[in-house]
């Protein structure tokens, strides 16, 4: 099973090529290929997760060249966990009907599914690569596919995509510059090898410069406040399926790279040395992001824009967890990566269902939707309550671990912000709840609306079930996967 690290990537990469050809033949065939590809990637990723949590990491030498000379793919619990999330959300979005996901009927010549598969390939590549430069290449692969996907959303989305392209490329440029600093001071690009070489030089200015450049570059990629400026436009103007992919998994690739590089490559240079306040900066910017994102979300009247600002706030939690740099906080951050992926993709897919049936995006016009689309709106309610952090649901637990970590460290400001942000989250979802569940239908389109198609209800249902199950069985996830992983990375 030594090929396991590369197996989730192959169906995605070849799937995207086959989907181009299939799409030329029959528009529907591309979707079928995409579902098969992401489905098999999910199978491989889950198999990998089970095997590596039991037997330890597996590495695969690309082209038969052993590391540190060759490029290495590493499947360890962290990368298997992240790859499974990407494949799961990817599969659900691929199953989701094309007119709701991409706002248009499958036309010949618009390579929707190949682009989406290419983006997922890039994301998985980032998560599986054990080589710093190879990670940069995958960062750009998913980024280029993202620019194309965002621009599918029409005129405003094209403009948002261009702005995102400019900032995203600067982000990966800064990352590449950091890789250069590290390469010239250690002479290697392999992560494991570099971690060893960096062990004795944690105070060196070159290493600290590299860390600063990489953190800024990757924070730009993951849209950590105040580098989030590209996110609200790109996420709210892109079509619902694309927005679900972007919010649920695409920004998490930056978060993953940050975790991997800070804890695994820099290790003691990040956690032990306090000459450069990188971790403090992540904590404070994370907290600021939580507050600003939530307040901006309250002010929005467009549902997709509200969800986009809410993503900024939720990414703040992940930044906070990475910055606190204790095992508990890391568990909280990684659990929040999973929770936010299922919650936010569920919410965007609900928004897609609403737009598919009524064409409405403005929240004040949603009144009475709960009576017309009971099943979809139940899914919406579960995801929203989980975002707020109502106990048995998934969203509660990641906040719980984060609050526990902040109290452990005695950082009371952070504890108050995390708890208080639940109230802010509640404010913007209550606004939606009032319109959807309390009011009577007023708009003509709402009064005549029916439940979205079966596949919309099905995918939303799967995500809502996942939220409940993750909430109920989070102890198993934490004790089996995330706990040992965080202990190892910070041990």
């Amino acid at each position: 099973m030594s090929q396991l690290p590369i197996l989730p990537l192959l169906p995605m990469l070849f799937g995207s090529i086959i989907a181009v050809l299939a799409g030329m033949w029959r528009a529907k065939a591309a979707q079928v290929i995409a579902v098969i590809a992401t489905g098999s990637a999910l199978l491989f990723a889950l198999t990998g997760l089970v095997i590596v949590t039991r037997d330890g990491p597996i590495s695969y030498d690309l082209g038969g060249w052993p590391p540190p000379i060759g490029i290495e793919y590493v499947l360890d619990p962290l990368s298997a966990f992240m790859t499974s999330i990407v494949a799961l959300i990817g599969l659900l979005v691929m199953i989701y009907p094309v007119d709701a996901a991409f706002d248009l009927r499958p036309r010949k010549g618009v390579p929707l599914y190949p682009l989406a598969l290419l983006m997922l390939t890039g994301l998985m590549g980032v998560m599986l690569s054990g080589d710093l430069f190879h990670l940069f290449v995958f960062l750009e692969i998913y980024a280029i596919a993202t620019y194309g996907l965002v621009s599918l959303g029409g005129d405003r989305a094209t403009f948002a995509a261009l702005r995102y392209l400019l900032l995203g490329t600067i982000g990966s440029g800064l990352y590449l510059l950091g890789v250069g600093f590290l390469y010239f001071s250690t002479g290697t690009l392999n992560m494991a090898d570099m971690a060893q070489q960096l062990g004795g030089m944690s105070g060196s200015p070159t290493v600290l410069g590299a860390m600063a450049l990489m953190v800024i570059g990757l924070a730009l990629k993951m849209a950590l406040f105040p580098l989030h400026v590209w996110l609200p436009d790109a996420h709210s103007y892109s079509t619902p399926g694309v927005a679900a992919l972007l919010a649920a998994v695409q920004v998490k690739a930056g978060a993953y790279a940050l975790v991997r590089i800070l804890f695994d490559v820099f290790g003691p240079a990040y956690t032990g040395f306090d000459g450069v306040p990188v971790s403090a900066a992540l904590v404070w910017f994370g907290l600021a992001g939580i507050v600003v994102g939530s307040v901006m979300a309250i002010r929005q009247t467009d549902i997709k824009r509200l969800l986009a600002y809410s993503t900024v706030a939720q990414l703040g939690y992940i930044g906070l967890g990475i910055g606190l740099a204790t095992p508990l906080a890391l568990v909280g951050a990684l659990l929040h990566v999973l929770n936010h992926a299922v919650m936010k993709s569920g919410l965007f897919l609900v928004a897609g269902g609403i737009i598919q049936r009524t064409g409405l995006k403005a929240i004040p016009r949603f009144s009475g939707l709960g009576k017309r689309m009971p099943l979809t709106m139940t899914g919406f309610a579960i995801a929203a309550l989980s975002m707020v952090g109502i106990p048995p649901l998934a969203g509660f637990w990641s906040k719980f671990y984060l609050v526990w970590a902040t109290i452990d460290l005695g950082n009371w400001v952070a504890a108050v912000v995390v708890v208080g942000s639940s109230i802010l989250t509640m404010v913007y979802f209550l606004k939606l709840f009032e319109q959807i569940f309390v009011r009577e239908p007023q708009e003509e389109v709402v009064a005549t609306a029916v439940e979205p198609s079966g596949r919309v209800v099905g995918t939303v249902g799967v995500l809502a079930t996942a939220i409940v199950l993750i909430g109920l069985f989070n102890a198993a996830i934490v004790s089996q996967v995330l706990g040992p992983l965080a202990e190892r990375m910070l041990g």
């Binding site: 430069f133 940069f136 094209t158 392209l165 400019l166 490329t169 600067i170 010239f184 690009l189 403005a362």
Partner: protein, 138 residues
């Protein structure tokens, strides 16, 4: 003073790289013409390429083909940064290609490439309709 001068002579390329990075960043962030922004982006990436190439340089070194002079790494130029930058250039070409394609679409819709004009027009349209009508596509 001589030490400072020697340091400058040994490292002056890095100063150029820094200046190029700053020019590129200024172009992307401060210019309102979208084409100039893309040009700024290209300058920014070129500075990174130059940084890698300069770092690989070996005084008196030659092409990394092991010959009768032996396998002492000090005799050869480090080939890996060249390889990395070749890849990065290809990636950069892809990014600029996508950027230009987006520019073409924006120009066809708006007839201008001024960021402020397009932003104002998009914002104005946002006020005109309440965001619920199906968006017109470019």
């Amino acid at each position: 003073m001589t030490a400072l001068l020697e340091l400058f002579l040994a490292r002056y390329i890095y100063l150029f790289v820094l200046v190029l990075l700053a020019i590129g960043l200024y172009g992307v962030l401060a210019k309102t013409d979208l084409v100039k922004k893309v040009i700024g982006l290209t300058i920014f990436s070129t500075a990174i390429y130059l940084f890698f190439i300069e770092g690989s340089l070996q005084e008196g070194g030659t092409a990394p083909v092991i010959d009768e002079r032996g396998s002492d790494p000090a005799l050869y130029v480090d080939p890996l940064p060249h390889l990395l930058i070749l890849t990065a250039i290809v990636v950069g070409v892809g990014v600029v290609g996508v950027a230009l394609a987006l520019l073409v679409r924006l120009y066809r819709t708006h007839g201008t490439l001024d960021e402020d004009v397009i932003a104002a027009r998009l914002a104005g349209r946002e006020v005109a309709d309440d965001g619920d009508t199906p968006e017109d596509r470019g």
